[in-house]
Amino acid sequence: MARRTVEVELSTTGLDSQGRPQRVPILTDDGGGGLALQAPPGIEPDLNGEHMLINIGPQHPATHGVLRLVLELDGETVVRCIPHIGYLHCGFEKMGEYRQYNQIICWTDREDYLNSIGNNVAFALGAERLFGIEITERCKVLRVIASELSRIMSHLVWLGTFCIDIGAFTPFLWAFQRREEIYRLLEKWIGARLTTSATRVGGMAADIPNGWMDGLRQFIRTFPHTLDEIDRVLTKNAIWVGRTVGLGVMTPEEAINWGLSGPMLRASGVDYDVRKDFPYLDYETYDFEVPVGTNGDVYDRYLVRFEELRQSVRILQQAADRLPDGPVNIDDPRVILPPKSKATSEMESMIHHFKVVMEGPRPPIGESYFAVESPKGEKGYYMVSDGTAKPVRWRIRPPSFVNLAAIPKMVEGHLLSDVIAINASIDIVMGEIDR
């Protein structure tokens, strides 16, 4: 790793003699040049190599759920890390084999519960590929709005909890205030805040109510101010930079080989975003940028996610501007429920209603793997159908599961306190990892 300096504003000195922000050298591996802040080798006393085993979790606020890490420490340095998962295993994939497609949507809320509406969208898209359904234009734009709102929510939770792990409390409150506004928007639209179950195969559970777009526009207008505030507090803060730069570095080759995806991969400098490279929901027609880091450390992951928040606002703005009129659901009585007024007054609609609810829509024999860019990374739903109303196999490709698998590699050689920062930077959700 080359030596790297980051411009920080020190709260005490602040500016140098020429009035420029002071540049502070960061700990480096190469150690030369007299700038390295590390103690030269040989000064540390020999402690006879006595290693200590320490257990973090599964009930610990800094593990973001029920993750358990067993660490082997040499002094304060991590020699080895053994993660243990599975404390939240619910068997979603098994239960999915006994349920109809629309019923499975309720479980997609509960796996990655910070991104529930995004999961609904992803699952519906996968099921629609399996059914061979083309959804309406209005539905596409509504789903883009839903996905991006959910990305903002998920990143805000990540940002808030990451700050708390590092020791900053204020941005957490700001982030959660704004997140609450999105929850209110979702509540107006879907009726639920956390477990939205917003999509159906072939459409959405509900169209947006009158006046909802005003609330969204209000959010789009005011949210960047919050981002600027958090940016001012964190990005050039000396403590923040000191706690995050140079930690948990993954090179681009390593990151690809370890299967990292999402902001984790992009922070390492690999330009891969499912929205750009394997577009869905007409993402190729939206004008947005994919932020890419250079060093692959915790600080770059922070920068990448932060920029993604701004890009999501851009996408939201464009989606709000282009939202077309027209129906949300496709016109296919075999898949979509008829309007309730018709179901109770027309014989044919009642039969359709009965068949969709009791038997469920049936896809043709086949299989589909649909991947979307979830806030955590590439989230894929792999479904295999044998022609009945229930899938033979329903598989979630969990991004944070694969990202977390790299944690032993990332924490090795770092201090115990850095383990918390690295773990927070992965942005794990145990509901998704254990499923």
Binding site: I82, G91, F278, Y382
Partner: protein, 194 residues
């Protein structure tokens, strides 16, 4: 691809725009190695490793790899059917993709497929002493194999202090402090605690 590997690549088809290649179990590792290394393929990103068991008991269990080529923006699904009556065993791709580590462990945990060459193939989502079998197999009932009372009894009988694997305990150098029966089993070379 079919030219290069001959009979090992049985057939290829396109379903909903996704290319699926069926490969003989014996040559899966060679095919994926070639897909990863060959400059015309460069499938450098392993998305997923999983398995499919069909409701029809005549159809063999399939192991599925989802590969992506980031330089060429391509997607490929490789499938391999493990014939009926043969042990559920297939070559691991751990040496090609490190991401296969946990994905193969999960696949073993849920389906009981042994990945040859995986350095640390043990249960990942279920606990290591889990005795009911492999949950995602079709012959595994939704409620679990044991009755509720039996599940509860087993859960209560567990010693939470023994939740470290033997490997970890050896690291901690806590051998002398272990209960007698655990020390005995450890000296016999058993891996897991409890």
């Amino acid at each position: 691809m079919q030219q290069k590997f001959g009979g090992a690549v049985k057939r290829a088809e396109v379903i909903w725009g996704e290319t699926v290649v069926y490969v003989e179990p014996a040559s899966v590792h060679d095919v994926i190695r070639w897909l990863h290394d060959d400059p015309s393929q460069r499938y450098d990103f392993l998305s997923d490793v999983t398995a499919v068991e069909y409701r029809d008991s005549e159809v063999p269990i399939e192991v599925v790899w989802h590969l992506r080529s980031l330089p060429f923006r391509r997607f490929l699904r490789v499938k391999s059917q493990i014939p009926k009556g043969q042990p559920l065993e297939i070559a691991s791709v751990y040496d090609i993709y490190r991401s296969a580590d946990w994905l193969e462990r999960e696949c073993y945990d849920m389906f009981g497929i042994r990945f040859r060459g995986h350095p640390d193939l043990r249960r990942i989502l279920m606990w290591e002493q889990y005795k009911e079998g492999f949950p995602l197999r079709k012959d595994f009932p939704l409620r679990g194999r044991f009755s509720r009372s039996e599940q509860l009894r087993q859960a209560l009988a567990q010693n939470p202090e023994a939740r470290y694997s033997m490997e970890e305990l050896t690291i901690a150098d806590a051998f002398a402090e272990l209960p007698n029966d655990m020390r005995e089993r450890l000296s016999k070379g058993e891996r897991t605690g409890e």
